[in-house]
Amino acid sequence: MLVVTFALDPTADYVLRELNARRIPFWRTDLADFPTRSTLSAEVGADGRWRGAMRDATRGVDLSEVRAVWWRKPTPFAFPETMSGPEQVFATSQAKRAVSGVLGSLPGVLWVNRPERNADCTKPRQLAAAAEAGLRVPETLITNNPADIPSFAQRCGGHIITKVLGGIVHTENNTRGQLYTHRVPPEQWNDSRIALTAHLFQREITDKAYEVRVTVVNGQTFPVAIHAPAGPASLDWRRDSHSLRYSTALLPPEVQRGIEAMMWRLDLVFAALDFIVDSNGTHYLVDVNPGGQWAWIDHTRDAITHALANLLEKGSTT
């Protein structure tokens, strides 16, 4: 078994500790280890199978024996600093095609998840897949045309938010900040700077009762209700994780079925899903995190740990 992640991944550690207890052999590596601390040597046979090994100084995997790959949170390939920029671009291009290409070509391997499936899981695609699967999603507009906003906002009762299409972290000027869900008041609906790139706008669920994070492991769902106090965290609970309260949640059957259909459409084995639940109990799918975190919630940590360990040990979704 191959585990691909950064050197600091305490969420993965829960599962790795369980695998150690079960004496399941695995090799943990990071893309950043290649090529300075790890090597790849592979040769394709007449049968189309790659044979060889990927390893570091102490451990590795025989490519013919890999049964599962847990793709967590790797950091980029790292090369000698004396390489020029163009040389690093070339080296990265070579490395990513070789490593992902060889590993991705191995037959009969369980991927949790295939990295290209994670890459495909963009906000527009996940919202479309959710709606196609029968899940409710808030009315959503993606545009760089400010003239689109007023009419959309009117259809949403005047209450709209904007959220980023990608990662929430933004760094500049040697500082780091986060881009949380943000209300867009009427005086900003015609802001000319909306035209500078694409932006996502969504109806604000103004009668939010609570939110639910649903971790999905090969069809098993682990829902937890998240209750945020009044204040900034009520619009985006990520703003203040220390203020949150968690409780058991049950998913309506139609939501459970929708999740299964959406995961199939997105070709994901694992994801952490975010729902907003309104005062009528309607569940709105607002986010699909194919590499999402889960271990910080006590209620479901052990169950998810065991579900992932069981899946990786089995090496198959069936």
């Binding site: 050197a7 890459a119 900040g177 699909v288």
Partner: protein, 94 residues
Amino acid sequence: MSVLTDRLPTRNRVINSDPAGPLATRPFGLDALANVAPVGIPSQTFTVDPASQLSVIDGEVCINTPAHMNNTICNTESDGQDAIGGVDEDQNDD
């Protein structure tokens, strides 16, 4: 399907040093930026325990050290508050 995103997503831990540009060309979406804080040189070192293959911070196995666990990206995902190792920067990965 065809996508334009990187097919091999990774965490990007680079802190950009470029200052913000003029307001006239600053994308509207960046108005939501919150919790802006200077980023210094990380004081911790992250390694992997050679025997257990678990995460190690400054020589201590993270999962066995509550003080580390309470402040790592495991527990403070995305809120950016004193999280050892920073918050996740990659796409769709909160």
